[in-house]
Symmetry: C2
Subunit: 606 residues, 2 copies
Amino acid sequence: MQLAALFHACRSPYAYPVGLEHLRIILKAARGDLAAAVCVHGDRYSWPPDLDRSTPMERLGDDGVHEYWGVTIPAPTRRIRYSIYVRGRDGDYAWLTEYGIAPRRPRRGFFEYPYIHRNDAFAQPEWLRYSVFYQIFPDRFCNGDPTNDPPNVAAWGTPPTGSNRMGGDLAGIRQKLDYLQDLGIGCIYLTPIFAAPSNHKYDTADDYRIDPQFGTEEELKALVKEAHGRGIRILLDAVFNHAGKEWFAFRDVIEKGKDSRYAGWFYDLHSFPVNPEVCNYETFANRIASMPKLDTGNPECRDYLLGVAEYWIRQADIDGWRLDVANEVDHRFWRAFRDRVKGVKPDAFILGEVWHNATDWLQGDQFDSVMNYPWRHATLAFLSGQLDAAEYDRLLCRMRFTYTSEMVRGLVNLLGSHDTPRVRTVLGSREKAAQAAVLLLTSEGVPMIYYGDEVGLEGKGDPDCRRCYPWDDPKQRDTELLSLYRRLIAIRKAFPWLNDGAWETFVADPVTGLFGFRRLPSPLAAPERPANEEGLYVVINNSSRGNAVTVPAGVGVHLVDLLEVEMLTGRVEGDRLELPPHGIAILAPATVAAAMNRKPGLDWKT
Amino acid sequence: MQLAALFHACRSPYAYPVGLEHLRIILKAARGDLAAAVCVHGDRYSWPPDLDRSTPMERLGDDGVHEYWGVTIPAPTRRIRYSIYVRGRDGDYAWLTEYGIAPRRPRRGFFEYPYIHRNDAFAQPEWLRYSVFYQIFPDRFCNGDPTNDPPNVAAWGTPPTGSNRMGGDLAGIRQKLDYLQDLGIGCIYLTPIFAAPSNHKYDTADDYRIDPQFGTEEELKALVKEAHGRGIRILLDAVFNHAGKEWFAFRDVIEKGKDSRYAGWFYDLHSFPVNPEVCNYETFANRIASMPKLDTGNPECRDYLLGVAEYWIRQADIDGWRLDVANEVDHRFWRAFRDRVKGVKPDAFILGEVWHNATDWLQGDQFDSVMNYPWRHATLAFLSGQLDAAEYDRLLCRMRFTYTSEMVRGLVNLLGSHDTPRVRTVLGSREKAAQAAVLLLTSEGVPMIYYGDEVGLEGKGDPDCRRCYPWDDPKQRDTELLSLYRRLIAIRKAFPWLNDGAWETFVADPVTGLFGFRRLPSPLAAPERPANEEGLYVVINNSSRGNAVTVPAGVGVHLVDLLEVEMLTGRVEGDRLELPPHGIAILAPATVAAAMNRKPGLDWKT
């Protein structure tokens, strides 16, 4: 047994409450090393051997290097003390405590979870479970009101540059709510809409004014109201890491120098006079003069920004904020932000832009979620052949245990955004784009579709990924892919446990490229679920050859394919699935399929 | 190379800022496994291979199972991206990133420390570096004013029970400030002094009133003022996890039941009427009826308690708070507490009672420090023979890397408290108590002496550990031990880098029991320090036999012993030290000893 590989800490994501009377414990060990692991636990104010209970841990998966074991232990007094006993496949055994690895049962140094305090509970909005997100870059989605077009507007569909504008606006989004509702969208995330000189609006000039090129405050209110009427929520983009150079406070600083009452609102003004041409101040990234960095630790600046956050919730009834460059703003600011936002709208959603491990922002005191770019990386790497099926499976496993299960169910998965090349272009084929869609909509977490990806819109990196939605261009608009998205979203909505349910990989074959997994309601949520009677089987044939696989659905279970699209489909006979090159399938027992209002036993292809 | 043992996460305590332009990186590996580790780092907005720098990591120690490597990398832009290259002693190599362990140089998935934000910096009061703490249980330290004695006062020195009172008071502490100043104390921590029915006062009746048995608010003010005049700070004990049953709000709840406006101030009132005899409410620990648990998440209750914290700082100019049962109160409360307290007195000290790993409270947003009970466990286990010298050294190493170096220098080490048996009694001999004192006063962190330990006061567990200070009892008052403490504190104050300096163990022998280490200014603080020209050498002979050791002080260095006490001393000749059974020595080169105003070359024994 590799003792040095044993890892546990009584900290998230290795120990965390599930509800108020259970504690989830995760242990990491060298892959293939452990025969058994047992959590020995009791109340912190009782001492061994009095009241200790032994609860076996379960092997949950491996990432190629490590294996993960877990257990959920009861904590009726909310105060938990525990140690972990491990037995290796080589017969060795050991005990883990906070004081290290011991050869015999410890009498002190236990891990302690002092108190499951309800005021520290991590609670995301319940509506996440039922929502598919849709990201819109407002200038490029739909031009609903040509009267507000900027003077130099380019024709719809012009190749994007860093500065051109296409005339998309709030009126356009409102006109397309039918489309989004039909698609099954539950939440729209708009990149910034406040007055700003650029086309992307990340260089805010006025946080209290809708950019006139997008419309008016009244139009935003109308959009939100109408969206709400259709069960669609609206998320706006908060750019609080930096301002734009036309922002009132920055203009004042340029004018008055160190005498400006706003001098303290900026993170570092290196010298005076402040001069954008010299860029003698701290900015977003390195020396981007148009985006001076804010000092969110300055109380006045902080209060101003919190006021903006509150204003648009109260004024327009928006449903939360996506936070731009969230990882470069101080944690103290985000704690105050959460208190302020949740104080106004308790089920508002707070989504941070963090491309890397975001554990420190997801402790319940700051964000509900982050944009899950690591998932994008893994999925595109798999479908483009940089990772084989086994490597992809392992990386997903590793990511899963990077976070708590509560964090994982809230992560917003995406295949692309305004900051990345588009999925269709990265993968280079509509078949692979379809496979990516299947993975997006059947994974744990919350799926977010970047506008246009559902019709296979192409786009290289910024600015090319910000092309106009091709409403009237059949060549750029893959309606079969759109049908697949529509069907996948319907499946997602029929089985909301796809958000937080269990995941069991049953094939991840580096040779054939087959990747198949079962999704099913979480055992935490429904512990008495009868084996093999629920759940979906998802299979991806990541190969240019046809492939067949046996689905472990149990004897006599009649499987049907829930997909209803022409492309990429296969044949299922009993528990045997045949898939064409780059084929896809979502199989379910007839009993489960019935939940989709399909007749049990119906063939997959109608 | 044991790949599964490699551990790094871009989170405290494995990655943390040192100042505002450096990042400290710590890597854990299987003991004996690595030949080299290199951190490859750059600005987050530049991409490889453009601007990456390679900085070798240094092997810092091992805990018997793991070894720790570390490096401090420059971060001039404050935004850091990095990976870690490791080469095993077996010739294997690998790269660590956030996405896992890779066989070749990664191009993505880097660890990212997004921004070293000054508003998130962890800053403890600077005065910690220079302070030795002294804990007083007020009823038992000194009876300075018999007129405030409770009616049933027991004679000074009566064996403690759970309920008897001895008449100690604030006036007594004030009378003994000469003694404490002469001893070298820099901060006094008083267990609770507010009105409460018990002798320990952890069952508060009135947070705004000094218990009449201890004195008056005026006497507290006078005590603090006089202490400040002597350079001594005063810390009070905040009992915010629970109240006492005579507390105004709890009396109201007993009287008015669910109609009480204070019903929400308590964590859980299971049924009404609230009845201490039935104990139908949540309490401290399990069903301790006299200590109903507070709901610090209730805004009114929270504000009341924060008001108490602020009041005594403003009113009596106290220097901070020790927080009782701090780990069972919610994190949100402590964040508000910190803001409130530091807002009133920026260099106030916040010391939590957390007996286990306290990382989650030491991120800069809550506590400055915790009482370091794990250090007590390790040290007493070593001196009482439950751990050998090598095991002790390894456990210290493990603890050191459980925290950041910033956290470690703030930890308040203790050999005992009102909640534990006394060190003299646990170790069973004055010689071992002296050794414990040497370790307490020469270790990293902040030493805290429990009143009476400096004269070898005996005491088993609570209540026996709360005996009266034996001012007039020569048999209970070991003046030789007191001289040692006085000398050790003088050494501590002469070399304030003992607080945060480096630690190099040079002997930890399981056979002879010798344990010796070198302390020296931190290389972070003084990177150009010439080798072997500074520092102290501390040696403990944890054996009932005499022992000799060679001190690695370099050729021609003349060592002297800084201790000036009769007991337990040894002989030093050149770099050779001979110690009697249970002997102790603190050796320094003559140049260093000069800092203590001793003539260089003077023999250790005056």
